[in-house]
Symmetry: C2
Subunit: 155 residues, 2 copies
């Protein structure tokens, strides 16, 4: 990679992203959540905001509603979410987290918090805060208006 220095920064982002996500799911699996994939975590982030319809979730994840529906079924069968009738619209259903779903989110937060604490110990917390602030600005500038959308990799 010596001959192509400009590729390093994107590579660091990618490696960092993968390293955190891999470590998170390694630890989640060790705690009994071995049936959760990274994409589910992104879905949970949306569902945790007061529930979501299938179409909302599909839009958030940047996939078709059929694919989202299939994922919801996977999560429902394993007890992470429940499909509830939508009182305002009899066509629709509201996806909500079950207790197990909430538990998994709390575990994730604890694990990510521990990783972040390690990082703070490594860099110092003021340096980590700077890093966070810089990343926010870069992402905001590069991702533009598409900030909270299209979390999925689409490799």
């Amino acid at each position: 990679m010596e001959s192509m220095p400009s590729i390093e920064l994107p590579l660091l982002f990618t490696l960092g992203s993968r390293a955190v996500i891999d470590e998170l799911h390694r630890q989640l699996a060790a705690r009994g959540y071995d049936d959760l994939r990274p994409a589910h975590g992104f879905a949970f982030q949306r569902i945790a905001q007061g529930g979501a319809t299938g179409n909302e979730l599909a839009a958030f994840l940047g996939m078709t509603k059929q694919a989202a529906s299939q994922m919801i079924e996977y999560l429902e069968q394993r007890g992470y979410v429940a499909r509830q009738p939508n009182p305002d619209d009899r066509r629709g259903k509201i996806i909500a987290l079950t207790e197990r779903g909430w538990d998994s989110l709390r575990e994730s937060a604890a694990i990510l918090g521990a990783i972040e604490a390690e990082w703070a110990a490594l860099l110092g917390s003021e340096r980590l805060a700077e890093l966070r602030a810089d990343l926010r600005r870069l992402v905001a500038a590069t991702a533009g208006g598409t900030l909270p959308r299209q979390l999925r990799p689409v490799w």
Copy 2:
């Protein structure tokens, strides 16, 4: 995301990674390289180091040799790489970049360089250098010994 602050940093990594890669491939497509996927860029990084055998590439990308072989065929058909007989081992073949392959790498470098220049303008170059240094340390600490391996997402 207000209720779960510790997810922000991994999210920023992921969004940053995606934003750069998406922007890179948007621009590559506009310049005639619309048949290149992000995974190919990672493969090119390895192939550019004096060529690679199929197995080396598979190991680098963290996939089976069958999958790597399939990807090589895709790239060969589109003129980015060539399979050459290996003079040292008649079982093996050496994958090398063609002129078109090298051209695409140079384009990528230019595009990534431009993005990085934008970032330097946004943050200031000394701050960007700090960011890079911090990221290196975090990635090295978190990814551990597996630094140059397993670049693929494995979502």
